[in-house]
Assembly symmetry: C2
Homo-oligomer: 213 residues x 2
């Protein structure tokens, strides 16, 4: 199996989004140089990325079929077999993610949520049932869930991650701002909004000081 770098993998959803937008506008054919210019990558990079995952290659001068390329990208990204997931931590961030309808176009289907607080469990958020934590392991096994979205407070994240690993979860999309120590069998991908904001705020301040001081 070919291995892909994180950077390369991160580019495929950008291609897919751009091509879907073009298709929505009625376009049927696209060229690598056009994609490269739109996304700010080199032509060489775009050509190689698409060649690595597309069945049919583009033809010089004619470009590539948008429909075929979208199908190839979706197949590569696994959007044809949706990722079924549960979410743990149905507080403010978890609730926002449950309400966000955009995930399904990225192949993510959050089926149920779990929370330790009676303020949250026993209810529905965006049509999804929120269950108490003591039903977590059983649900994962019974429904054969492999992916968990982790949105618990940081102090609870490690403990919950261990429960998830034991129940058979293979991937954790971690929004809790901690580095999880977990079985190497589990893939962890971190999203940290506060860290991203900290970088942005600091870089803005740096630039301002450079110009004014």
């Amino acid at each position: 199996m070919k291995t892909f770098s994180n950077n390369q993998l991160e580019r495929y959803p950008l291609y897919l989004r751009l091509l879907s937008d073009l298709r929505d506008k009625g376009e049927t054919v696209v060229s690598s140089p056009y994609i490269a210019a739109k996304l700010g990558f080199s032509e060489e990079l775009v050509r190689k990325d698409l060649q690595a995952v597309c069945v049919e290659s583009g033809r010089p001068r004619k470009g590539r079929s948008i429909d075929d390329t979208i199908s190839d990208l979706e197949a590569f990204l696994g959007y044809s077999e949706p990722m079924r997931a549960i979410l743990v931590g149905a507080g403010s961030l978890g609730g926002a993610l449950l309400r966000f309808p955009g995930f399904e176009s990225s192949g993510l289907y959050i089926e149920a949520a779990f929370d330790s607080s009676p303020d949250h469990y026993g209810k529905q958020i965006a049509g999804k049932d929120v269950y108490p934590m003591n039903e977590l392991s059983d649900y994962i096994k019974r429904h054969n869930i492999k992916l968990a979205v982790l949105t618990v407070p940081s102090f609870a994240a490690q403990e919950v991650a261990e429960i998830l690993a034991k129940a058979g979860i293979e991937g954790i999309w971690n929004f809790a701002p901690v580095a999880l120590e977990i079985s190497p069998k589990v893939t962890v991908e971190n999203i940290n909004l506060a860290s991203s904001l900290a970088v942005l705020g600091h870089r803005m301040k740096e630039r301002r000081n450079k110009h004014h001081g």
Copy 2:
């Protein structure tokens, strides 16, 4: 002015979150080795990170004051002077971000939103007014806003980013899955949920193939 790497900047919110959790539990003192173990970093790294931004250093054996360290981290991260922002694109993702109450603890205050669709403007989301796009430049100038959260569809992102730059925006927190081509005076920080998911999904698949095939 000292320069910080992105990786280092991204760690400060993690320290702050951990220490806030400890304070909430009634703790008053913490050691670098404890922080290092909790977050999965080396002791050396934690000590250097904290020394770089904290006024008072920890004392061997006694550890460092949680309250003082929190104040130092908040001052460094600029949480004492909140980042006032506007959000452009009040659709599904933008709406979720407007409803998410967690940003204020990271120093981000979204004051108003803008959208090109009459389905969205003229309304309020989470108590914040949504205005039509033609009021965007004027609002930014009149309210002296320097930061924009960008949650428009990818095909609109570049055009909106140029309007933002012209109106005086200095930083863009970009959730649109495109690489913005913009004045070097504007700092751009990208968050791409679909790309992060693509990495996670692919790594899970790789691992499964390795074990089963």
